[in-house]
């Protein structure tokens, strides 16, 4: 308990630095998430179209998934040097798998009878996609965004290793200086950010889920 009070005092004393780090952390995380959504949701749409494309895309994404984020960041160092770029790229790649997989699964999970009705009533392929398929897959896609966001926010602590800043700075410094207050301040802040994001996206997921169609 005493430690928590000391941690709080530490945060209060270093409010400016702390705020700065939190902003960098969020900026990196949501920047990476946004880029990842632009790249990987369309990729998931492609994957959902079936055939060999599906196997290839899902396979590639699964392969990326097994590489630890830290390894990705370190592998990118020789190319991009220190700073935010290797961190942003690594976090973007990290966000990919849940986005691709959930988009693919969500779109393919739309009831065949519903799609048949859409075609049978005279919708074109694109009308069917935008009006029926995508809205019905949206809750599953948002779940993917949620998973990705939480992973990215947690992993953004690694950015500190390549000098990109963020809340990881407090954790790495805390470890190096054996300062528990510093370490805890960073860790708790990251946890809170992750939980808040999770909560906000869960609400969004609820909003895009039509009444009575909630999936287990």
């Amino acid at each position: 308990m005493e430690l928590l009070v000391e941690t709080w005092e530490y945060v209060a004393e270093n409010a400016d630095r702390f705020q700065q780090a939190a902003l960098v952390h969020l900026g990196l995380s949501f920047g990476a998430l946004a880029i990842a959504m632009l790249i990987f949701i369309p990729l998931g749409v492609l994957a959902s179209m079936g055939g060999r494309l599906t196997a290839n895309i899902v396979g590639a994404v699964a392969a990326v998934r097994v590489i630890p984020s830290l390894a990705v960041i370190l592998l990118l160092l020789p190319v991009y040097g220190l700073g935010w770029r290797p961190a942003l790229i690594a976090l973007t790649l990290l966000a990919g798998p849940p986005l691709v997989v959930n988009t693919d699964v969500g779109l393919r999970g739309v009831d065949a009878a519903t799609l048949e009705a859409a075609t049978g009533l005279g919708m074109t392929r694109s009308q069917r996609f935008w009006r029926v398929k995508l809205p019905l897959a949206l809750p599953v896609i948002v779940t993917g965004v949620r998973t990705a966001a939480v992973e990215v926010i947690g992993s953004a602590t690694l950015a500190a290793f390549v000098g990109a800043g963020g809340l990881g700075l407090f954790i790495t410094s805390g470890i190096t200086l054996l300062d528990e207050r510093m370490l805890l301040a960073g860790a708790i802040a990251v946890t809170i950010l992750a939980l808040l994001t999770e909560w906000a996206l869960a609400r969004l997921e609820g909003r895009v889920t039509p009444p009575g169609t909630a999936r287990a």
Partner: protein, 351 residues
């Protein structure tokens, strides 16, 4: 072996003349072969068939007989491998699929309602695709909800998941007829409903289509449903049409063993449960006096029911009324006359 006659269109007695909007559908030597390996038989095999404007035609047969494929050839969910489907004389392949389908109502088994749309938005799908004005669409939605027995005030803003299966099918039907299509295509629409709901919806559908007057093509594997609804029934097997005729003809004169088995021609009570009283009765002479205490029944009623009444009451005959007017009577000889199938095994070329 395709008995696709284009005889004068028989109709239910109370069917009004079709409006000019009803569509004629003609299959000319239509074959549909899916790419499912060498030597596989076509799903639809050289079918020629004419469905007249305003006619209620039921396609029936065991699963895999091609009835659903035949239905989907009408609105170009499938295109024929050979032959041509004519929609009011125009080859369907000259018409863009989405346009064609917007002018053909389509109802499938589970309704296929869009779960993320309210009832109102579901019904408005085709009007919206056709670019109707909002006020017109809204008025039409209310009118249709009334028509299918769902008070608009109560149901307009509900979601499909908040409706029973029967209510969902009502909405499915309302959605299908929203833009007054010339044709209504229905693929086992009542297959997933309980028996009571099903028979209510069958009656309502028949009344509705009589009123709206469009051509209906209805797929089922339930002979009772087919007999109840159809002006004409096309019995299918292995991609071919075995017999295309009125329900009474199909029951009384099945053209071969297969059709006879389907309608249970050898099962006396079953046959009687399919034949309507009007088809079996002896017409009343104008001077035939009806006794005060005679038993009367109102059509539609099946002969089997009348037979039960005869046996229970011991009365010599039962009077049949249509629209409250006595039109004929049924007695045991009349029932016996329809009990014997006219099926002649000799023309069974199918083996």
């Amino acid at each position: 072996m395709t008995n696709a006659r284009s005889s004068p269109t028989p109709r239910h007695p109370d069917t009004p003349t079709p409006p000019s909007g009803a569509t004629q559908i003609r299959f000319e030597r239509v074959t549909k072969q899916f790419d499912n390996g060498e030597g596989a038989r076509p799903a639809v095999d050289d079918v020629s068939l004419t469905i007249e404007p305003g006619e209620f035609v039921v396609l029936i047969g065991p699963s895999g007989c091609g009835k659903t494929t035949l239905l989907k050839l009408i609105n170009r969910l499938y295109d024929p491998t050979s032959g041509v489907v004519l929609v009011d004389g125009t080859p369907s392949q000259d018409l863009p699929g989405p346009d064609l389908r917007r002018h053909m109502g389509y109802v499938i088994q589970q309704g296929g309602l869009f779960p993320h749309y309210t009832v109102e938005k579901n019904i408005a799908v085709v009007p919206n695709l056709l670019g109707w004005e909002k006020a017109r669409t809204r008025a039409r939605v209310d009118e249709l909800l009334e028509l299918v027995g769902l008070p608009p005030g109560e149901y307009r803003h509900r979601y499909p998941s908040q409706l029973s299966g029967g209510q969902q099918q009502r909405v499915g039907i309302a959605r299908a007829v929203a833009a007054s299509p010339g044709t209504l295509l229905m693929d086992e629409p009542f297959g997933a409903l309980d028996a009571i709901t099903r028979s209510r919806l069958q009656e309502e559908l028949r009344a509705l289509t009589n009123r709206l007057g469009q051509t209906v093509v209805f797929v089922t594997h339930d002979i009772d449903e087919a007999v109840l609804l159809a002006d004409r029934i096309a019995v299918m097997r292995e991609g071919r049409v075995e017999q295309y005729d009125t329900p009474t003809e199909i029951i009384m004169r099945p053209c071969n063993r297969f059709v006879a088995d389907l309608v249970g021609a050898d099962d006396l009570l079953r046959r009687l449960s399919l034949v309507g009283a009007l088809a079996a009765m002896v017409p009343l002479d104008s001077d035939d006096g009806i006794g005060e205490d005679e038993i009367t029944v109102d059509v539609p009623i099946r002969v089997r029911h009348v037979l039960s009444l005869l046996l229970e009451s011991g009365a010599p005959r039962v009077i049949v009324r249509q629209d409250g007017v006595p039109v004929g009577y049924l007695d045991l000889p009349a029932i016996q006359a329809v009990s014997i199938p006219h099926y002649d095994g000799a023309d069974d070329a199918l083996g």
